[in-house]
Symmetry: C2
Subunit: 425 residues, 2 copies
């Protein structure tokens, strides 16, 4: 099955300079060697096809072809270097159509996974990165060091505008900094977007007056582009600092423009649907890759997993993503196949969410540090005494964690926390 | 591991009426029954979460919750009915965040695949569907019955604007109806979008004069939304009838607006990247599902696979997709889990592409019928005598196929076809 059209794409002596480098996990098809399969991927994702072409001059091939420069058959990984001329600056869809496009369907591979990427400096400079980032968000929310505490209004669908706002209000009163819509709540027959935003922000202002703390609301603007922009602008006009968007359901083309429009909104990235292609360890695209794209185009915060929650996603993976979006320099080694120098691109907040409750806050903070947003949905609204007490319990758990006090000990004087710990073991 | 919060979502007696129905393949996690896992999916994709909520009233749950109404443990499939109130009309990202969102990452399932969907009439009516469809395209291209013949300019990247236009010109002269950009060619340092479009359309006009046939060009407008729209409008102004877009790299939010803008352009949907989540038969989203979404929002033609080509994708799957996008009524049975009544939504052209050459045209037409667009890239440009002769050979193969003449027989009098058959066996 060796295909000659795929030859000449391997060069173990090549040292990437200004190239974009991609790391793939690869399982060749039956009868195909690892080298052949890796070259088929390098060819299809750069300038080649399945048969030799008369119009492909040797000069052109030399200048623009990708190079498989490192192979590790034990870990089944291949590193491929791409000349940057293959990529249009500032255009993520074009990048994905190249290195995460046809290659996943090729008959030469049984499985293929895009694991990691290293962007060259020139490519990075064609993107804006986050407008606010961790520092900008902390300034707005007026929380200097601790993790931010958030909730998702639950039930995720079914409440009307007023009920929604009331649940948010109770969460803020109890101690949440942030309240957000759930990923499938947009503008519904029973809950109109504009009415919901207006009513929820009204109660946010009230919650700020009562608590003396800064409170924020993240309305979900996910929709076809023009409607999404209309909603984002409405949110801004109504005095919210935030918008949230389901990044993968919406897609990179509209996402980039939402950022590039510079509306002055902090952008919260929900990753609903990612596990359709990130979950298998042998095929698809890694969540790390998605996280890097989010930082590059300029989302301010991103769901990265909860380690201890209801969703798939282990500690090593979530920690690696956390580093990737929060550090200025990424060193290859234990958690990272490829390094990265993020230059002036700001760090994003990692959001830990999905099946969390107060009892899970200590191990989460221990694993991820203080620069995270901890979101509890059911873990607040499912509290035996309801949302407000649930939020109180979560805040108690967070404060105890920061002081190094075991939750069982703290719960002896805090009945809200005690009730939460009793319900969720 | 049974979770009580996920109970009450199963009802074998339920008969869907105006519901949206989704069919999932499902493998429960260890210690979880099939029924429990199916209910977890139904809950998370509608109104529930992992723990019981005080704010979720029995009335609300009754009105809005999804129902697992059919289970087949042998085929590991579950049918789930969703009240339409759960979905915002005309908003595909919202639909995906619901039924193809968090569910793929849940710990209750080891694998989960969204196989098929049935849209209720009211939901369908909130979308425009294709503006042109098969009939509209045939009218413009002036080809009444036969499959359309197309090519992708190759090498996919590396040619400058003039070289690109010349390759297209040769393909048209040889007999192609359609020439398109490749999926990773947008606006490059070595090949500027506007210059390429202008020059290629100039030679298209010339090819029309010489051949007396209608010829079309599909420039790739994939980019961040505003740039994409700018390019699409430029294409229209320059006198092209077509634009192509990488639907999955760009994403549904911008795709819907590209269609809704009604620019008067036929929209060609390239599916680069789909196999990251469609390839496994046990996880992700089926290509059939993606095809249905494309028809619903109004792409005019879509890559569906080539059956006999370089990409993964078997005959049964590709035929089922072809039926789904071209028939008015889809009957459940051999190829389809769920039925569909497409109402006034026009049929789309199925595009067969990826590793085809002249020798593969007869089995392809036999399997797919006449309402397809056959695209040969390498299978034209890789011809021993170059692009023009490659296009002649492809057209010869197509004409012979339509007349029922075996290619070997036709090749006795047609040396272009003979050379192609000799190179690609």
């Amino acid at each position: 099955m060796a295909n000659k059209a795929y030859s000449g794409y391997i060069n173990p002596k090549y040292i990437p300079k200004a190239d974009l480098v991609a790391a793939y996990y690869l399982e060749p098809a039956k009868g195909v060697s690892f080298e052949e399969a890796a070259q088929a991927v390098a060819s299809e994702s750069s300038i080649g096809t399945w048969t030799n072409l008369s119009a492909l001059s040797p000069k052109l091939k030399r200048e623009l072809h990708a190079r498989v420069f490192k192979i590790n058959k034990k870990s089944k990984t291949a590193l491929i270097a791409y000349p940057t001329a293959l990529f249009e600056r500032g255009n993520i869809p074009q990048l994905l159509s190249s290195i995460a496009g046809n290659v996943f369907g090729m008959k030469e591979v049984n499985n293929l996974r895009l694991l990691d990427i290293n962007f060259p400096n020139r490519y990075i400079r064609s993107f804006k990165g986050p407008k606010f980032g961790i520092e900008g968000i902390r300034k707005i929310v007026k929380v200097k060091k601790r993790p931010l505490l958030g909730t998702i209004v639950k039930p995720k669908l079914g409440l009307n505008e007023k009920q929604h706002a009331k649940v948010a209000f109770q969460a803020w009163l109890g101690g949440c900094d942030i309240v957000k819509d759930d990923e499938n709540l947009t503008s519904m027959r029973f809950n109109n977007f504009e009415k919901r935003v207006k009513e929820t922000l009204r109660l946010r202002d009230k919650a700020e007056q009562i608590t003396g703390e800064r409170k924020v609301y993240m309305p979900n603007v996910t929709a076809p582009f023009s409607e999404m922009m209309k909603r984002a602008k409405y949110v801004k006009r109504q005095g919210s600092e935030y918008a949230m968007v389901d990044i993968l359901s919406a897609g990179w083309s509209s996402l980039q423009d939402l950022r590039n429009a510079d509306l002055g909104l902090i952008l919260h990235a929900h990753r609903a649907g990612h596990a359709a292609f990130t979950r298998s360890s042998r095929h698809g695209i890694s969540m790390l890759m998605i996280a890097k794209l989010c930082r590059l185009i300029g989302m301010d915060q991103l769901h990265v997993g909860a380690i201890v929650g209801k969703m798939h996603g282990g500690k090593k993976e979530v920690k690696a993503i956390g580093e990737e979006i929060e550090d200025r320099i990424i060193y290859k080694g234990k958690n990272h196949i490829l390094s990265e120098n993020w230059l002036n691109i700001k760090p994003m907040f990692a959001v830990c969410s999905g099946g969390l409750h107060p009892g899970k806050i200590p191990p989460l903070v221990k694993a991820m540090g203080n620069d995270i947003i901890i979101q509890l949905g059911g873990g607040i609204h499912g509290h035996p005494l309801g949302t407000r007490h649930g939020a109180i319990a979560a805040r108690q758990a967070l404060e105890a964690t920061l002081k190094g006090i075991p939750l069982n000990y703290a719960a002896m004087k805090q009945f809200e926390l005690a009730l939460a710990l009793r319900k969720w073991k």
